[in-house]
Symmetry: C2
Subunit: 231 residues, 2 copies
DNA sequence: TGTACATCAGTGAACGCGCGTTCACTGATGTAC
DNA sequence: TGTACATCAGTGAACGCGCGTTCACTGATGTAC
């Protein structure tokens, strides 16, 4: 196999994986602030200082969890938007948004790690930026494809001024070809998805939209329609 | 004055106000997880146990901060949407949304206390629900007024089934008269506002939409147009 | 294949810090006669 | 107005808990000859 060949090296890989698994469990159980190296060590039946053979610090561990979560979410969205016929842009947009919500509901602490309040005493290093954009790229894929096939459009004049320039820079940065007017609406729609999930996880829909399935569904179908996506 | 008449009672009111002020400062400086009674006591030059004459527990203090923040935000939004002519529904919606963003940027920790990740080890008591809805009511006021004057409308058939029933219940619960199809879109728009602010505060627009003023402005104008609000 | 040495996983104790909360107390302020 | 008593703000010590991180160490695993 491609794995390391000495028993020691194999054990090391295993232990590292165990640490991340337990850390994820702690995250799920206690939220990001409750994640502690001592608790992880306890769970693994190891003395706290032992972990420093594997992680440089608590922050470094948090960072790997962040990177992991972005990658997992991006994969999940990619999986959802790549099922079915490529030209069904409307359905693919909806599938991507639904995938985000499903993922978030299944592991709320992990979602909050990415989009919730900043973890106290932790500032995300620059290396988290690129994985974060991968999620956006995955969500926007149906829009990009719609543009490529000549559909996907919005009303109104394209934004000029500051916003116009920002949108062009963002499109270039993401390496996608979407006209400013459409991209602006797509970013707003993405924000709406995040907002809906944040409010749902925060319990703000309790007593009103519970379950929020129908509300979410209606909202994202509306978005797809607004973006001119068709099936 | 209407205040209490003994020096002791006046001092008590003052101390309580001081505690909340310092707690707010701690919140702003450290985030909700960093808010500790000991730190508040330290700042006030008082021994930690002394605070228990004024607050029953840390959680109770957090709850008052939550209630306070909801009330303040609702006031702010009301102030924004009630300036200018009442029938300028479009402008009032935009003003309300901008007020939310401005408030959030001025005191991010307070915003996160309401809409961010749950505070570890703290679960919001039922008494926070009503103040939370006051914010939504304030934001929706322009929509309600638009409906009352015969404007404010959306395309498409009204939602039926589960969502239709939920929307009717919500309208009744909020004591507002907004048709389901419009209310559904308004809730989605409100979610978008929250999502835009969450992403901005979370640094997700860094390197893309910085400042996010133009993006936010375009998004909320779009919302107002979508909701059929006019000036 | 056997042995000497190097590597490194994991231990255990400690440092210095933080937290919420309880409890018996002192002494100043307020109240009732 | 003066005095006896009750109220209550704030003290200081303590309990029991948590945390990240460092450091000198033992003993097993791996490597080179």
């Amino acid at each position: 196999m491609a794995g390391p060949h000495t028993a020691r090296a194999r054990a090391r890989v295993q232990t590292l994986a165990d640490i991340r698994r337990v850390a994820l469990e702690q995250l799920a159980a206690e939220g990001s602030a409750g994640l502690s190296l001592r608790a992880v060590a306890r769970e693994l039946g190891v003395v706290p200082s032992g972990l420093y053979r594997y992680v440089a610090s608590r922050d470094e561990l948090v960072t790997t969890l962040v990177l992991d979560a972005y990658a997992d979410l991006a994969d999940t969205v990619r999986g959802a938007t790549s099922r079915g016929p490529r030209r069904r842009h409307h359905a693919r947009w909806v599938a991507g948004a639904v995938a985000v919500r499903t993922w978030a509901r299944a592991q709320p602490a992990r979602f909050q790690l990415l989009y919730g309040s900043p973890v106290p005493g932790y500032t995300a290093p620059a290396e988290t930026v690129e994985p974060a954009t991968a999620v956006v790229v995955a969500v926007l894929a149906p829009v990009v494809d719609a543009v490529a096939t000549g559909s996907g459009d919005v009303d109104g004049p394209p934004p000029g001024g500051t916003l116009g320039r920002q949108l062009e820079a963002v499109a270039a940065g993401l390496g996608i070809d979407v006209p400013p007017g459409l991209l602006s609406r797509a970013v707003a729609a993405w924000s709406e998805v995040i907002g809906l999930v944040v409010l749902e996880l925060g319990g703000h829909f309790v007593g009103g939209f519970e379950p929020a399935d129908a509300l979410f569904d209606a909202a994202v179908r509306d978005q797809a329609a607004r973006l001119g996506l068709q099936d």
